[in-house]
Subunit: 715 residues, 2 copies
């Protein structure tokens, strides 16, 4: 990949003092400043990322929400089992074969399964477009107008770069709340296939019980393969497609990994809030995490009731369930962590220090003295309509059910398409609309009518319970109807045409008026909620512009005070992080060692999900049939390990490499004790949890007998 | 103390090879053979126990179920908080002051509380009486008759030694299933007072959640003081009594304890089954532990329902609850441990090895070849009447309620007293009867009528559910009555006189016929169950004699095979055990360090019971006001520590000493991972959990300000 014409702003140039040892999700352009040669690296920054020639970063792949890496020159990818979980679930629902429970191994390439709903994105170039973006807004005074102009400019750049290519994805990412804008161009491959996924008793071993936990024994890996058309384009599945020849692929490490060894990670961390204020933390704690956990519990208990004793339904809802469980445990960890560490109070004390400092510097005081106060005012503003907003958002969320989501999307598309493309919301470009249509069939693989009804009932019941002054009047026609909520839902699901994918696809050909004329009850509900949602969208846009601007000022104030080198908050762009293999102490008198073993896998085994390790693992352990994947110190196959890399959601599947740049594992989790790490890095307790590549290879070779994959990886 | 005229049997002389490093609950007479000087001890075996002069063992005290040690020459005792818990509960019920929750500190001796129901036993002499005991049975052929003769001989010895002294207790203990008999003579002190018990938020910190667990943060200690009459007798409480001047008392260690340091423990371990067969283990697992756990859960849920929102009831039932919880967790740990380790299968494999060995030695085969088989036959026998026996035992147990227990005891006494004293069951000697009468008042401190009724209902309902062929016909008059079980109980509790202690005491003046004539419904129930219980008693006696004999043969067979030095199973007699301070690995990738700290106490604190550490602890930690009790390496006050000593229930409160014989802690628990340790010692995972004496002294000095106690202990 290449970074063209980087505009280094004064801001980023000036930041030269390192913050905390090993904290940081660094931009590719910052790697060279990290003095890696002093930290035990045996390769240079240049070999990790290089704008002019092939480097390790060229083997790193984005899966849209997860990370992965090429491990052969035939497009073979390694990522986490949980990253391929959605595809496994959809393929299982389609084929009525439980690929999650049983795993899947293609004995040869022709057997590989097209991974439904899975794309792979390979970064082609990086370009700093800050100057171009901010120029557009430089004469505008109003912050919301400025922001709108920037948003339009970004959409314009993205569209211009992509042209009409379906296999390109251009994203201009906002760094440091608008101090910097970087354009990332990806090649989008739409034909990704499942090569080898271990059975759930390996790949999801420990399930929700062990999720976020250490010691961990999950073989959280799956092999995919990326295909392209013979003309090199990232076309959709075709039997004629050929494996991608990646610019670079990672080598599997064949030396042992030990505690203390340096490691690094390249991947796509999703979102951190490291530079947020106490107002933001407090709002997220009390107005997001805590109420969300309650809602997740409600949804999960519905899933559990419906799935019990019904394996087909369980498969249909498996991905929903996994996602909700995962996010819920993350939120709970944030709540626990924030409460345990008195997080908000500490943030406030820190801010008080900043305020005291500013007071001592009249010039800075004038510039930044009111910024915290203004951020507080913004949060007070959204507090006023909180119940209304929270409930309205339920109708937009993942937990509203498949049919209503399809209805709402189709009507939104019709309304947006009535505008010139330049005036549309960015997510309604013609290209994005086409992509939405392409996902319609897949959506039904997660559709189960009783669940859909239950989700809609939940949302409407919440709306019915709103206090009068925050009520969503547009829902009165249901809530106050003689049918009642349940009666209305029964009738609506009886009458709606949305259970038919062809009907939904046809909606995308219709104008808003035509959709309104259909009289489809689920569409009618989406139509009724369109106006209030639009009003909220506009309100949010203004609020977001203001808060983005204030957060930028707050970071400026922090910099003026501390003068340290900063990395931008994670935002889904490729980042570099590093740190040694190291255990930690989760509590008084307990030390967690950094390696688990196959023996530990078997010790947890109860034969009951999620601890249902396949019997063959015990046999292999019994016979000490470890191949070359045994660690001489552990005298066993290492299962998972801990290292200090600074990662977050989105890094799942990321390659973890040793000081020589060889693949030693796949990051798949963070530890529970550090779940507030999105807010604050703590090197004492924050760890990356990775599946050891020796376990991956052991399972591939000894458990699955997929020798051809090892050969392909040059082993 | 003195051991007079020890008869060392051939058996014990011959056992000279040590079994496993640091396994063993050694008899006092065996200490000298342990080569302590090679193990880092800085004192000799002679200084630990010496039949001719004062030694450390003279400072060790038995509390009847717990252990303790003198720590001043004014009779000051240190034991566990949970050992004094019964007394604290009874004193709380009597005074309507919650000494459990609030703790208790006597500001001076006159304020010390007579510890209701608590005696202290100081060992005066030890004598091997094997020759005398076995001589009595040498001409008898029938095993049951042999056993009966031995039992009578033992009773006769005990009575002869005690004479009519109320303050003497003589116990002839059976070692190695009858290979050796040792007579222990104790001075019994009946005036024990509570000096200082910390509040529950220290002394029972972590409660049932942390019980059996490491890392542990419980300040499980209480100070008692032993009083005697001015004539030196162990008289009951009198304001004129004076503190005992013990022959010896322990010195509080004032040097730091570190990982790896050698430690030893003297105390009274209750019961182990180290030499049992797979038949016994299997029976205990499936016919004792598992069904008992179910019953404990039932009883605990009754206690919980009754105690909720009623502090007075909670105090009354606190001791029951603690005992049931403790035993239940022990049983559950045994079940988990046995299942996890495939314990029964391993025992069977071990026995198969023995059988194979015996087959290879015709002489041994002839002697021992059938012993396992015969043990199996015995267990098959009790299987036949299992449901009947189990239910009948419910009416004898701790979980039958106070009133029925008093009724049953009083009637049994009347029946036994009708016999010449020599023919009575040993527990019905006149002296023991007097002691029973002395405990009647205390019993009512744990009496709560709804609980009593619920317990009786539980037992009768169990009986009603018995299969016809195992039914207890004597209960038909209740079970098949028109009133029904509940109706009968209501009427019985209405009518009975047993709620009045004077009425109960008067029963002890009556003959069986007089009691029968009373027509008291609870007594009537006891009368009805007398005959079936007697029949079972006789049946059990024969079975026990046979199994004891077979177990003796089995141990002989083991010895013939392995030829190793053995210690007798724990049986409540004083034992010595030793081992280093050491952590352990409870599971893959986890290491438990051997010290917890005050910081760890505070980290667990939630202000909610059982993690309601007093606020003052946090203040002291904040100010680092640790006195001289800070550990320089931990830079904190150590709370608890782990060592390798081999202990079990009964050792609670035992002094843990360093290589110089100074007091470094009080043993109060074993770890959950080793809960099957009563069956099998495993040095990898079995640990003693002790409260560090530095924490005890820190709480005494800094938390309670009881400087006078430190002064008394010479600090």
């Amino acid at each position: 990949m290449k970074i063209k014409g980087i505009t280094i702003t004064l801001f980023s140039l000036a930041l030269v003092i390192v913050i905390k040892a090993e904290e940081g999700m660094w931009l590719l352009s910052q790697i060279k400043d990290l003095k890696l040669e002093q930290k035990g690296f045996q390769i240079s920054a240049d070999e990790i990322y290089n704008s002019d020639k092939t480097a390790i970063a060229d083997a790193i792949v984005w899966l849209g929400g997860c990370s992965a890496s090429f491990v052969s020159d035939d497009g073979l990818l390694l990522t986490n089992h949980h990253c391929a979980y959605g595809a496994l679930q959809r393929n299982s629902a389609k084929d009525s074969i439980d690929y999650i429970k049983n795993g899947f191994l293609a004995q040869e390439r022709s057997q590989e399964l097209p991974a439904i709903g899975q794309n792979a994105y390979v970064l082609e170039s990086v370009k700093d477009v800050t100057a171009e973006v901010i120029a557009i807004a430089k004469d505008l005074e109003d912050i919301a107008e400025k922001e709108k102009a920037i948003e339009q400019k970004i959409a314009q750049i993205e569209k211009a770069v992509e042209g009409d290519r379906e296999d390109l994805l251009c994203q201009v990412a906002t760094m440091y709340n608008g101090k910097q804008y970087i354009q990332y161009l990806f090649k989008k491959y739409q034909d990704v296939r499942i090569v080898f996924a271990p059975p759930e008793g390996i790949g999801k071993y420990g399930g929700e019980i062990d999720n976020w936990m250490w010691p961990r024994h999950t073989g959280d890996f799956t092999y995919l393969r990326v295909y392209q058309a013979s003309d090199g384009s990232g076309a959709k599945y075709s039997p004629d497609n050929i494996p991608v020849k990646p610019k670079n692929h990672l080598k599997i490490a064949q030396t042992d990994l030990k505690a203390g060894d340096m490691t690094f990670i390249l991947g796509f961390p999703g979102r951190t809030m490291r530079y947020r204020t106490s107002y933001s933390s407090n709002w997220n704690l009390n107005r997001n995490y805590i109420p969300s956990i309650k809602e997740f519990q409600e949804i999960l208990s519905v899933i559990e009731n419906l799935s019990r004793d019904n394996q087909d339904v369980a498969i249909k809802l498996a991905n929903f369930e996994a996602v909700f469980n995962n996010v819920m445990k993350n939120y709970q960890g944030n709540v626990d962590g924030m409460k345990k560490s008195n997080f908000i109070a500490k943030k406030r004390a820190f801010e008080q220090e900043l305020l005291n400092y500013l007071k001592s510097k009249p010039k800075l005081q004038k510039k930044y003295g009111d910024v915290l106060n203004q951020i507080g005012t913004q949060y007070a503003l959204i507090e006023k309509s909180y119940d209304y907003d929270w409930t309205l958002d339920t109708f937009q969320g993942y937990g509203i059910g498949v049919l209503y989501r399809l209805a709402s999307k189709a009507y939104d598309v019709a309304r947006e398409r009535a505008k010139p493309e330049a005036d549309r919301k960015p997510e309604f470009s013609e290209k994005k609309v086409r992509e939405s249509i392409g996902r319609i069939d897949d959506a039904y693989l997660g559709f189960y009518e009783p669940f859909d009804k239950a989700m809609l009932k939940r949302a409407l019941t919440k709306a019915a319970a709103l206090p009068e002054e925050q009520r969503i009047a547009e829902l009165d026609y249901i809530i106050k109807s003689d049918l009642g909520i349940e009666g209305w839902i029964e009738a609506a699901f009886q009458k709606t045409g949305l259970k038919d994918a062809a009907y939904v696809k046809a909606l995308y050909e219709k104008s808003a008026e035509e959709i309104e004329a259909l009289g489809d009850p689920l569409l009618d509900l989406a139509i009724r909620l369109y106006e209030p949602s639009e009003r909220k969208y506009e309100r949010d846009k203004v609020w977001n512009a203001k808060i983005k601007n204030l957060r930028g000022e707050y970071i400026d104030a922090l910099y003026a005070w501390k003068g340290k080198k900063l990395y931008p908050d994670a935002n889904g762009t490729m980042r570099f992080t590093y740190g040694a293999v190291r255990g930690y102490s989760p509590a008084d008198a307990i030390f967690y060692q950094p390696f688990t073993t196959l023996k530990g896998v078997l010790e947890k085994s109860t034969d009951i999900e999620p601890f249902d390790a396949p019997a063959k693992l015990a046999e292999l352990h019994q016979k000490k049939d470890f191949g070359k994947w045994v660690d001489p110190e552990l005298n066993d196959v290492p299962a998972c390990f801990l290292c200090l890399g600074d990662i977050t959601g989105g890094n799942s599947g990321s390659a973890v490499m040793n000081a020589r740049g060889e693949l030693i594992g796949l990051a798949f989790d963070g530890n529970y004790e550090a779940m507030t790490s999105d807010w604050l890095y703590d090197p004492e307790i924050q760890r990356t949890i990775a599946v050891d590549i020796r376990y991956v290879m052991f399972i591939t070779e000894k458990f699955a007998g997929a020798d051809y994959l090892l050969k392909e990886m040059g082993l």
